[in-house]
């Protein structure tokens, strides 16, 4: 927002579709906070916004795509990652970010999550994890820690929940970090680090859903949750991801857990074709079709 009194501008403002503000997220929801960190990371990393594309799925976090002033694609539930894969393969010069929620990415999108990590597709995945399916009214998600109350487990959940950093590390991700919406500066730094890396990066951000998850579990509002994050988070950079599972009211391990190097999908593809086809291989294909 332009301050008409002294012309200062909120650093996040140039990244927003200001004609769509105020947004639909609830009071105390942390998604908007993650967008601030994302904007700061873009500024820090000096990312060329014209060659950045943001892809989201369905859910509260999926709505990020509609609020950022970028080439943005609000796709179908769970399928942001394969869409992003197609985008990246057709135009390798694009920086492609997938910004979606825990249900979208790990339930219906779970298969695509693990395959993209396995392939090491060069995508930066920001997973806002509010431990619930928020948009549809607070149903159990694969990340809902036991024994929480949700609308589809009214007597309390009893399923073990996913440890997302562990899952994506096992699948092959080269950069895995988790922060909460309290850790605004660390989150911005992690996103910047992901931009500097080639390959599949996964950054989980634990965020409040005061309207559904926190309210149904009598955990207070967004501010109470932020205070809980402040109090109960422990920075454990480099911790084994098998140890960072979440519990209902317990400690939240945050930090950068995985930062390793292995060739990304497109590098491996080019190498293979080069080996097999030599000069016949067209290494930098002009995939853009002729336009009229």
């Amino acid at each position: 927002m332009l301050n008409v009194l002294d012309e200062t501008v909120n650093p996040v403002e140039p990244f927003l579709r200001t004609d769509r503000m105020p947004h639909i997220w609830c009071p105390g929801c942390g998604i908007g906070t993650t967008v601030n960190s994302f904007a700061r990371a873009l500024i820090e990393s000096k990312i060329d916004l014209e060659s950045l594309a943001l892809v989201s799925g369905i859910g509260c976090t999926g709505r990020v795509a509609g609020y950022v002033k970028l080439d943005s694609f609000h796709t179908t539930h769970g399928r942001a990652i394969p869409f992003a894969t197609g985008l990246k393969l057709a135009n390798p010069k694009l920086n492609v970010v997938v910004y979606s929620g825990d249900g979208d990415l790990s339930a219906i999108g779970g298969n695509h999550l693990i395959h993209a990590a396995r392939r090491n597709i060069d995508l930066k995945v920001i997973c806002v994890n509010n431990l619930i399916y928020a948009m549809t009214g607070g149903q159990t998600a694969p990340t809902t820690p036991g024994h929480a109350t949700t609308s589809t487990n009214p007597y309390g959940t009893f399923e073990p929940s996913f440890n997302l950093p562990h899952l994506v590390e096992a699948a092959g991700a080269v950069y895995v970090a988790r922060w909460t919406t309290f850790h605004v500066r660390q989150l911005a730094r992690s996103i910047s680090e992901a931009f500097a890396k080639k390959g599949f990066s996964f950054i989980e951000v634990i965020s409040p859903c005061p309207t559904l998850y926190q309210r149904r579990n009598k955990m207070g509002d967004g501010l109470d949750t932020m205070k809980y994050y402040k109090e109960k988070s422990k920075i454990k950079n480099g911790a084994p991801t098998s140890d960072v599972g979440l519990t209902l009211n317990g400690e939240i391990a945050v930090g950068k857990f995985v930062d390793r190097d292995r060739p990304d999908y497109q590098s491996m593809m080019r190498w293979q074709y080069q080996e097999a086809l030599g000069e016949r291989y067209i290494e930098e294909p002009e995939m853009e079709c002729v336009c009229g």
Binding site: D71, F73, A84, Y281, C291
Partner: protein
């Protein structure tokens, strides 16, 4: 616009329909495909995988049809012409994303090499039972175009046409092959690139400030932009306005969905292609498509030898359905005979369009093989007597 010679395998070939379809895609300018193996379609992408690294493009085999059907759309928005191939069970999985392509107006081609169904059915045997699904398979009101080749040569020629229609109307085009056409090997002539007409992408020439992703200049089809060009546009499957912004009100819904429908329906005369023979003085017209049309041809020839006045209408475009043609024919013929490798799908459209002006005789077949010409002949004779 002429085809890019890199993708055109000029010459005379002896290949099957699946392979010819792949060559058609390359000739049309397709440089990206995302696929998943399913009999009897797999050869299309197998050939694409082996051709495209030396033509200049990419193929990726995705983890399932859900991924393939949307990865190709990411490829389209990244600038490429893209397609996927599948058969019945995969076609069912792809339905959500066919709807997404229709809603976001993503030009692309979905090839369905139809096989026996429902469910796993008959993986290696033909049917034509996905015809209604091609039209209505995804939820909501939307319009697609569907083409039905009946030979490997047509698998080449009509695939190019499918891509051209996709770009012209910004719709997903369903390329409805069947297992026999896909796996039959015949002579396919691929002409030089400068004899192949290709429709370019309808890309906007507007400035970044003036561009409206879903605004139309009165012609019902908006201009496209690609990611990475600075337009910073938004695409969503939610009901949206001309800016592409979600706008979920009845008024915007009415405007959007009707435009999606009208952009194809109003051009139906131009889009509908068929092959016709001796319709002027026909008493009975045999309407067929795909492999069944070749069996029907034999039945028609036998009937004519007996002196019956039989006309032929072969549907090349199955959707939009050529209502006008049927209405016109119904006014002077006694009956239609509609053989299909299903238990009655396109025949319903014929009956609807005929509106009682002419009788309709279905010649169903549960699939797994093709009709015996005598079955169709029997129906023709019965229709002639009515």
């Amino acid at each position: 616009m002429k085809a890019d010679p890199h993708g055109v395998l000029t010459g005379t070939h002896f290949i099957d329909g699946d392979h010819a379809c792949c060559e058609g895609a390359l000739a049309a300018g397709a440089r990206f495909a995302a696929g998943y193996p399913i009999t009897p379609s797999t050869e299309v992408v197998e050939r694409f995988a082996s051709r495209v690294p030396t033509v200049g493009g990419t193929f990726i085999q995705m983890e399932d049809e859900l991924a393939a059907s949307i990865a190709l759309q990411g490829g389209v928005w990244g600038g490429a012409k893209a397609f996927t191939v599948t058969s019945g069970p995969g076609f069912s999985l792809m339905m959500e994303h066919i709807g997404y392509a229709a809603m976001t107006e993503t030009p692309c081609v979905f090839v369905d090499v139809q096989r026996g169904g429902p469910s796993t059915g008959l993986p290696t045997l033909p049917a034509q039972a996905d015809m209604m699904q091609a039209r209505w398979g995804s939820h909501g009101d939307y319009e697609i175009i569907a083409l039905c080749p009946n030979s490997p040569q047509e698998c080449f020629d009509l695939t190019i046409k499918a891509f051209n229609l996709a770009e012209e109307f910004r719709v997903p085009v369903m390329f409805m092959m069947d297992e026999v056409v896909g796996h039959m090997t015949e002579k396919v002539v691929i002409p030089p690139a400068d004899q192949i007409e290709v429709v370019p992408r309808k890309h906007t020439k507007k400035s970044i400030e003036d561009y409206l992703p879903y605004g139309t200049n009165g012609d019902l089809v908006p201009e496209m932009a690609h990611a990475g060009e600075g337009y910073k546009f938004h695409v969503t499957g939610l009901t949206h306005d001309e800016r592409g912004y979600p706008n979920m009100t009845p008024a915007v819904q009415d405007k959007l969905v009707k435009r999606l429908q009208n952009k194809v329906r109003k051009a139906a005369d131009r889009v509908c292609m068929f092959e016709e023979d001796r319709l002027e003085d026909a008493d009975v017209v045999v309407i067929s498509y795909g492999i069944t049309s070749r069996v029907a041809q034999r039945a028609i020839d036998l009937a004519r030898e007996r002196g019956l006045k039989i006309g032929k209408l072969r549907l090349i475009t199955a959707w939009p359905f050529p209502d006008k043609k049927i209405v016109d024919l119904a006014s002077h013929v006694k009956a239609f005979v509609v053989p299909e490798l299903n238990l009655g799908q396109m025949v319903r459209e014929v009956e609807r369009a005929a509106n009682g002006e002419a009788k309709t005789f279905a010649v169903p077949h549960a699939g797994g093989g093709v009709h015996n010409p005598d079955e169709i002949l029997k129906a023709i004779v019965e229709a002639s007597r009515c």
